[in-house]
Every structure is written in C-alpha cells, then in structure tokens.
Symmetry: D2
Subunit: 368 residues, 4 copies
Amino acid sequence: MYELCIFAEDKFLQQIQQSKLNIMKIRFNSDYIEGAHPAILQKLSETNTLQQPGYGTDDYCEQARTLIRQLCGMPTADVHFLVGGTQTNTTVIASILRPHQGVLCAETGHINVHETGAIEANGHKVLSLPSDNGKITAQQIEQAYSSHWNDENHEHMVQPGMVYISFPTENGTIYSRSELEAIYATCQKCELPLFVDGARLGYGLAATKNDVSLEFLAHHCDVFYIGGTKVGALFGEAVVITAEKLKKDFRYLIKQKGGMLAKGWLLGLQFLTLLENGLYFDIAKHADKMAQMIHDAFAAKGSLFLYDSPTNQQFPILKNADLEKLSEHFVSDFWCKTDATHTAVRFCTSWATRQEDVEALIKTIRNL
Amino acid sequence: MYELCIFAEDKFLQQIQQSKLNIMKIRFNSDYIEGAHPAILQKLSETNTLQQPGYGTDDYCEQARTLIRQLCGMPTADVHFLVGGTQTNTTVIASILRPHQGVLCAETGHINVHETGAIEANGHKVLSLPSDNGKITAQQIEQAYSSHWNDENHEHMVQPGMVYISFPTENGTIYSRSELEAIYATCQKCELPLFVDGARLGYGLAATKNDVSLEFLAHHCDVFYIGGTKVGALFGEAVVITAEKLKKDFRYLIKQKGGMLAKGWLLGLQFLTLLENGLYFDIAKHADKMAQMIHDAFAAKGSLFLYDSPTNQQFPILKNADLEKLSEHFVSDFWCKTDATHTAVRFCTSWATRQEDVEALIKTIRNL
Amino acid sequence: MYELCIFAEDKFLQQIQQSKLNIMKIRFNSDYIEGAHPAILQKLSETNTLQQPGYGTDDYCEQARTLIRQLCGMPTADVHFLVGGTQTNTTVIASILRPHQGVLCAETGHINVHETGAIEANGHKVLSLPSDNGKITAQQIEQAYSSHWNDENHEHMVQPGMVYISFPTENGTIYSRSELEAIYATCQKCELPLFVDGARLGYGLAATKNDVSLEFLAHHCDVFYIGGTKVGALFGEAVVITAEKLKKDFRYLIKQKGGMLAKGWLLGLQFLTLLENGLYFDIAKHADKMAQMIHDAFAAKGSLFLYDSPTNQQFPILKNADLEKLSEHFVSDFWCKTDATHTAVRFCTSWATRQEDVEALIKTIRNL
Amino acid sequence: MYELCIFAEDKFLQQIQQSKLNIMKIRFNSDYIEGAHPAILQKLSETNTLQQPGYGTDDYCEQARTLIRQLCGMPTADVHFLVGGTQTNTTVIASILRPHQGVLCAETGHINVHETGAIEANGHKVLSLPSDNGKITAQQIEQAYSSHWNDENHEHMVQPGMVYISFPTENGTIYSRSELEAIYATCQKCELPLFVDGARLGYGLAATKNDVSLEFLAHHCDVFYIGGTKVGALFGEAVVITAEKLKKDFRYLIKQKGGMLAKGWLLGLQFLTLLENGLYFDIAKHADKMAQMIHDAFAAKGSLFLYDSPTNQQFPILKNADLEKLSEHFVSDFWCKTDATHTAVRFCTSWATRQEDVEALIKTIRNL
C-alpha cells in the first residue's frame, strides 16, 4: 500500500514521461490534442491589435450571439461564452439549484465522475441514475421524481432539482428526437429544468444516424451549450439559455465561478468563425466519418464494441495482444478490462484528424 | 404528475394528520419518541437556577469530558458536545476533508441518504460503497483507495479522504472486533481518518452478540461519537476525537456549523447523568432485550428478517394483511415492499420502551 | 508572537479556569446563564413519557404554530422551530439568496462578527454597513442598492440580495415603528427580503420606549424569529415566514443545516408554554426593568453609556478601578477599552435575574 | 427606484452600446484590450497541428515550469498554469484554508471587491484591512492576528488563515523590498501563508522605482503568480508554489475550480514564449514607460494623482470639463468623483500600447 502511495505521488511526472514516449506516435486518445481550426488562428492574427472592450461586451461576441440565436431559431435566447466544460457545468448548475436540490444524471455523466466533485463543491449532490450506454430515459427521471416525493421522509433527502444529460454522451451515444421529446416533456411536467451538456455537440449533430437538429435541441431543453474546445476552437463553450426563468443574473455566476474571460472577444471571435459558414458542422462531419472508418475496420476484424456510437468516439474491445501491437504506433485511451484477455479502448477523432493517419491505422488493424 | 405535486405539497400537513390518527396507538416506529430518562429531568430541575458560563466552558461539561476520557481509556482525547446527529456528521467531516476530497461510506449510510445533502452542502461528495446490511469491509475501502490512485485521471476525480461507518448501522447491524480492526488497519495504511457515527452507540455496545467495548472502539478509530438523543437524553451527541491531528480548532467548526449550544451545560449535565453510574449502558441493554423479544415473537411465527440485527431495531418481513392488523394498535416504520404481498417494516425500541407494551405487541403477533 | 500563540492554544482551558473563579460571583455577563422558566421544566416533566412523532410534526408544535400566527395577526404565516440562533440565521439566509448575492447588515451584526463565518461557509458575503449603535437606516440600504446597480462593473461584485437587522440589536438598541416602516418600504422597492433576527425579541418588545408590537413587526418584514434561548426557554427559536415566496421547501433547509431537532416537540412545547398566557412578555418586561435599575444606578454615579439601550443589555463606561471593585462580586462582560483609564462593559439581565441580586449590585455601585 | 431597476436590467446592453460609441477612440481604459504579443500568435500557428497530451502534461508546460523555477532561483517550486485571475485566486485560497478560516486582505483587494464573492462562494470570509493606496502593512497583519487570538470569543469569529496581497496593487502601487520582508516575517511568525496576486506582476517588476526582483519575491512569499493575461498573453496565469506544505494535491483543486484547460499546452507555450528571452520584462518596461509619459503630462498641467503609482496604471484627478474633452478621443476608466468639479480616472497602458497613441494623448493634455 505504501508503495502504491509513492507510485501515486509520482503519477503526474509519469504522465509527462509517458507523453514523451508517445511523442512519435499518432494520437487517437482524445479530441483535444490539436490547437484550433486554421480559420480561427487566422482571425486571431487579423484582429490581434484591434482594441476591444472586455468580458464579452465586444462586437464579435454580440455578432456570435445573434448568429447562434438564428441557428437555434430562438430569437430571445440568452447566449454566453465560457472557457471550458467543467466550469460551464458548474456555473449552469449552481445558477439553477437551491441548496437542498441535486441534479439527476447518468452515473457515467461527466459531472458525476470526472470533475473532481465540482458540483458538490458548489453544494449540490449529483443524483446518479444507472446507465449502460451513457443515456438516461424519461421513465428514469419520472421514477426518481415520484420516488422522492412519495417518500414520507423526503425532506430528509436531496430533492431532484434539475436534469443533466450529454449530447453525445461520454460513450459516444446520442439521444433520438423521440427520446429527447419524452425527456423534455417529463422534465416540464415535473418542473425540472433540463440541461444538455454539448461539449461534443457538433459530433452528435453531424452523425449520420442523428435525427436531432440544433433547432430541435434548442426547443427541447432549458439550457444547453455548443462545445468549442473539442470541435475546432482553441477553447470555449457557448451556453444557450432558452428558458426565461433561468436567464436572470447569469453573468454574475460566470464571473464568480471563474469563467468570465478578460479578453472575452477571443470567445466571440472563435464561435463567429466556426458558425458563420457552417464550418462547425463540416469539421464535425469529417470527424464522424473518420471514426466510422475506424469502426468499420475493427468490425471487419470481428471486434465487438462496448457502446454503439455513431459519433467521433469508438470503443472497440480488443485482444490484449492486438492492443499491444496497435500501441506501438498509435495512442488510444484505455477504457476498461472486459476480461483477462481483452481490453476496451477509446479511439477518438476530431476536426483535425488526418485521413492518412486513419488509413495508416486501418492498415495496421487489417494486419492484426 | 401534477396531482403528485399537489400531493407532495401537502405532505407535511398529512404527516401531522397521520400523527393524530396514531395518537392512541403504541409507537415502535423510532427511538426518539419520548423525552429523557427521568434522572436527566431531575438534574435539570435541580440545577436550573444555578448560573453557568456558556458554550461548554462550564464545570458539568468538564466533568463529563473527564469521565468519557476515563471510560474510553483515552486520557488525551478531546471531547465535544453537540446537539444532533446530522450536525455532528457535518461538523466532523467538514473539519477533516480538503475541498477535493470525499468520504467513503455505505450507500445506505445516513450521510448519503437522510441528511438532505448536508455533506455536499459543505462541499464534499459522499463516495458510496455497495452494502446489503449497512456495513462495509476493509477490502472495499482498500479497493476504493487503490482504484482511485491507480486511475490515470485521478486528479479529475474526487479523492477518498476519510471513511464513515456507523455503529450500529442504519440496519441495526454491528461490526465485530475483528472487522473493526481490519477496517482501522486499512484506514491507517491508506491514511484515511476513520469516523464512527455512534448515534445509537449504546444499543450496539449493549447487544449480547457484541464483542466491541467502548474502550476498544475508542482505540480503533480517529473520531467517533456517543449518541445521546436516541439513548436517554433529550438531545446531544458527545464527539470523541482520539487522533491528535484532528483536534485542532474543532470548536470553531462546531460554532460555524450551528452546533454550539448557548446553554452548553445542558449537554454536559445530560452526559454526566447518563454515564456516571452506567445508566447509559443499562437502559441500552433494556432496549436491546425488548427488541429481542419482538424479534423472537416474529421468528416464532416464521417471519423472515431483512437484516440480522442484534440491536434495538428489528426488520421483520410481514404479510401485508398481518401488517394491516398490527397497525390497528401499533405504529411501526415502513421500510420497503419486498414483493406484492409482503412488506418489511422496522420495529424500534428504546430506553423508554415499556415491557407491557412489548407484551401487548407479542400477544397480537401470536394471534396473527 | 510565539508566546501569544501558546497563550491562544490554552484559551479554552483558561476560560474554564476563569469560570471556576467566577463560581461564587453573581453573573450579569449574559442572558443565557440559567436554564428555563420553571413552567417549561414542569411541562417537560408532565409530558416526558407521552410518545410523540418526530421532527416537528407533533401536536404541540402545531398548537404553537397556530398561537404564533394568532399573536402575529398573520393567519397564513409559516412557523418553524429551530434550536439556536446561528443555525437559524444560516438557514434563513441560505434559503433566500442565490450564489452571487450577499446580505446587507450592520457591521456589528451577529452574522458579520460572531458566527465564525457561517454565512460565508454557506457561500455568501456579508455586505456590512457602518453603524455606531447596531442599527442601520432605510437610506443606507437604498444607497447600497443604488451604488451596486449604478456601478458599471456590478456583475463583478456581490449583489445585495436581502437585508438582515436585529431587534433589539447587539447593542441593546431598538428600531422605532417609523424606522422599521421606512426600512421595509425600501426593501420592498428594491425587492430585498427583510429578515429580522429576534434572538432577544422579547426584551425589545417589552421595552418601555418601544412602539413596535409583535403584530406590527410581523407585518413589516418578510421573515423573523422569536428568540427562545435568551428569553425563558432551554433553547429554541421560532421562525415566522410571512412572505409567500420565501416559504417553499424551508424544512429541507432546516434539515440540511442541522436545525431539525429529532424530538421536535420539545421546541413546540416550550413556545406553547411561553406564549400561551403572555409569559414570554411578562418575563421580558421583568428583565428590562432590572436592566433599567442597573442603568439608573450607574447614571446616578455619573457614568456615561456606550449605547442608549432601553432593553436588557446595558453598556456603562466605567473607571478601571471601579470595574475592578465591581468584579470582586459581580461578573460583567468586557466590551472595549474606551481610553487608558476607562472600560465599557455589558451588564445583562434576563427573565431569571433576581431582584435581590440587582439590589446587591446597585448597593455596590452606590459605594464606588 | 423602479426606474433604477429597469436601468440596471439594461446595463449589459448599454455597455455594448457604449462600446460601439468608443469604437473609433483610442482606449486606455484597461490592460486587456488587445490580443497577445505577436511572438505568441506566431508560436501558436507553428505548433497548431502538433499533437499534444492534455491538461498541462505536455512538454511546453514542462519546459516553462523549468524556466520559471530557474528565473525564481527556486529549483523545487511547483508551477501550475491556470486560465484567469479570479479562478487562480479562488483555487489558491480554497486550497489553503480550512472552513473556519478567512483571508486577510486590503479592503480594496480584488478578491474583496471585484470577484463577485468567489472567495465566499468557496466558504471563506475576506477579512478586509483598511488601506488608502491598496497596500497593507506587516503591523496591520500582526494586529489582526493578535486581536483575533486575544479575543476571548475568538472561536466565534473567523480565524485569520492566510494573507493576500497584490504586486502591484489595484492602485498601481508596489511593495518595497523591506515592506515585503517585514510582511513575510510577520506571516511566518503567525504561521499565515502569504499569497501574492501577480496579475500585473510584470508591470511591478519593471517599474523604475522597484527594488523587488522575481527571485526576491519568490523567496518572500509562500505562493504567487506571474500574470499573463495582462502582460502579453492571450490569457493565463502561472502559479508558483514555493512552500512545501502548500503543494499537495493542487492539481485536483485546479480541476475542481474549473481552471484546468483541456489544451493545457496553450498555457505552457505562451509562458515559454514570454519568458524565454526576457520578452515579458521588456514589454512590461515599455508599458511602464508609456504610463510615466502620461503621468508626466498630467503632472505638468498641475494635476494631482489619487495614488502614487510607478506602474502601468495612472490615476490623475481631472476637472470634469477636461475629462469631457479628453473623452472625445480617448477612453479612460472612471474611478471616482473626488468633488463636485473633479473626477479621478484610470489611464492604463500595456505591452501593446503604441507610442504614437500616447503622444496623441499627451498633445491633447497639453492643450487642455
């Protein structure tokens, strides 16, 4: 156990070491391993010395807000730009809940697992619901709600105060139109605001199997965000608040939770560039296509998959020996051991994934 | 669903209505339905007009502290008196953890289920571990610890920072000497302070099957409390801090979390009365005996039990029809439906339970 | 400095030592140095073995609620019983504010000075306003409000979200009818809920100079409490919520913040006893009269007073030599040094103060 | 008042309107109105498609860490990169304090005034000390410390747990070597970690009157940061932890508080570029020189200054008529009205300020 501790202490250095070993390999381990789409860097350069007011009061932000409202078919939505996902989740949730309320969420949800307890640090319990593919159902929400209110000791328990889902989920899966409709209808009946984490929104909307449009999404939740960090931007998430009662004083919350960028126009400029001519959707489609190619290569070799993902994350279950071979040239993300001889990993593509790298990977897969 | 809402809004009034209906029945639904042991009321009367300094700086508190240290065989322990259990759990846990840390606990633990998110409201995630009888094991703790530190993303996850167990548990079960030893050894290896919730401590220590003494307990955890509210006092919990590093500034925390009673001597006086001549242990033994009689009556009728409890809480599984019949004269606590025709309930005894009431109950059980 | 540190570490033990030295003296140092009015102990004894439902759902609480609504002329008010003052302040304020809001309050207010940062621990800044007698004015509130909203960076600042005043204040002073009217009118204009801390409410209402009735108070704030701990009860504060929008889910907050007493009927019973036949007001009037006698004795000797208090706390400024002499037989509360040769102290009376003790004190004062 | 409210609601839109009116003017209103130093954009472009590991485990971050340790003469310091100032202050302070502790700070400190209560939202009171130029003294710290520990009710008060100062302060002033030495010595005696907010650190170090070096600073506090956002970077603050006991688990805190940038190498790359060849110090010196020129022009016209600032912020007190005239072509930052006919404003320069713009301003000043 003590050895374990020492090991742990050195984890951070180890990660850096490992990074160096991986330096010559092609990375498919996440969708935030490159900078920004060149069009964004271009815009940053062009506007670098133009003086701008701070904190999102500039004209780029205003134009981006208008554009997002149009794309959402939501002329009255409030739009805010924040830096990163954890921060955005924290800010939205802290803005909505009262102290005795918690947020319903899949047990695999990012806020439940990978944000170092940021929601709890803001005072709220994450009320996790079982899920085997990252999704939850309208029925689960209704049940959680009823079960709370029907418990005679409900005042001694955390009250469900809102619902958090991701589109796509952590497992690459997406909600269908009808699933989303059912969830939103339930949320409205139960008076639970529905919040959709769209850190990878583009990859969900661009999926071939997807039947949810940006406009449909905007009309079937109370607040959501359009993820930039993982879809072409250097960083940035665009929060869209559609429910009137959730709008009040949101900028105070952004500031308090550390998400109000001094040079706020950097966010507006990036979203403007991404959304002006559909760039956001084009590059997401590219990523999904690359992911599908990887998926098909594994499938052709008879691999099973942990989740049925139509988006930029693929979760093949590989023989350990095969994984070892692949790892000589390619970096994937360890997901879990499925049995003594098999491991599930994540292959991730992004707007920046080069087709030649995918083809090199496929060739190696074929030769396994 | 809307009807559900309206129903919910009226819950509190309903509870009061229900209380009135139950007014002529004999209550076995909890262990805090009577006032205090008469010896305590006597002491309160005798000392009522004697002027005392506030906030636990009085002489009764000091005497009670000394006595508790003696009973624990822990001359250097710090002893503090708080008003109630939720408050005590919150204060101890908030005092120990840093912001990124959580508390390991059985999924059925009081802090995870029945404190309206008080731990989260203080910023910490409750890291729940599966349990089917309210207990957790040394192995589960070790596994949770290793699994955290071996996860390469551990900095994105809540770090286990301490362990919370109850003695007895919510299900009436108790840890054996060897179980407690194993848990404490693991906690020490992993540098996780061990906190024992003793809201019903007396009923655990007095159980016939129990092999853990107060002194043994005090030497096998870092902080615990001796519950008064449920074992003879009007209210009050005596926190015993045995680990040196957990002692610092604890009184600040008590004040901040609302647990520092202005008339603090009321707490010292009650614990002094309870502990001076072993009264605490005598009345707990009585309660356990009454509970055993109820247990045996149900067992004689062939009832199964949800948990194997040697303490003052018994959880028989009853035919719905039998439960209905019993409920005409006795109040028990609904626990859960086990199938369409059976219900598990809790029968609770206390220091105040009258043998004649238990005999009346047993007679009714026999006639089912 | 290091010596200072060591000194500090021993403070708690020193307090206990000091308590022992004071044991033969007559205490006027606070209003929570005796137990409860005998009528309360009597009731506790009479009802001790009657079984009651928990958490305030019992009949005594319900009767006390009805009575309080009647006394307030507020048939629709919500009434809740909590254990102590810090807890009550924390719970009410946490229930009202959103995360970016703070509470306006006199810089001397209890929540700003003597609650170990409980309000901040719940996430909110105390926005303190200058005050030289414990009171704040309608104008100060309006100014703080305007100054916030007129600041172009207001989103970077804590938003005033409610107002906290005490009746009487920490300095024994009280608000007049017209002052309270002006404050409440301003609060309503600015949409700032007004919360009145009534930990010593009885002593304020009973003051001869007072023109505010319980009913008037109830109609000129949004939430307040009737203090029991300092006015005849063993402990307990009765929160009265008059504003409709502040009522929702308050019991969840009580539970989360640790104020929901398991044996809740102990609170209802005490308030019922105190309020049924005007006992609360009679004993408060007695305390105020005793305080006035002390005041007059000091005034007759030419003493000045730090505050002009018509209630149970008096703040004479004494020559150090005189204070020393008084301290041989009487305990007062150190307030501050006013210059090298003078000290301001607090003399406090209560429902329990004996006239013979006051007369002994007055005799000593005359002989200074 | 109601009009005021409506006004307030429209503030955000007004700010945007105002921004448009200012669009043709030259801005001196803050030091974050331009993008990044061109060398940074260049580096971002060059490295844009190189795949990097996330969250600061990349090689650029590692190189920047090494460089910063060298520049600080602190081979064992921990270095972390965060996105913005509020976030950094929150994270550092939350990492250090226990729940009952607060942070000593000038009443004008950024954390006390302009972070929407972020420190309180993390549970801690800001213990403000009077200051008329943004600085506090060793004596004030010692006094606050002693006054706490000498108060017999100290457990009812927030305990001073650390000290926060800014270098330079909000008012452009800087601490001298001897002042800093005295403060740090006091902090060490009182066991109060000293945290230096260096959001504008470059401008302080580069000031001609300054006698504090980066290395000296690093050896006279426990944790500080090198501000990037306001000194040449797009965004970013480099936290340097020199005290051993403050290092543990800091990355968890960064993640929880939302400051761990997914594409962390963007931060390392920027700091590497700024610090590699002294660029950071060169551009800061330029800004200070430009500010001095503005200062001298106002001084030559007989203006007084609110603070004696040797850094990039200047606070002249102007006749209202003069200010109006200047505002036709230049944007400054309103600070306060000093009397009916005078207003203090802030003129701010930065690494990006063009000498020709300063000369245009000076010319206008001369013609007032």
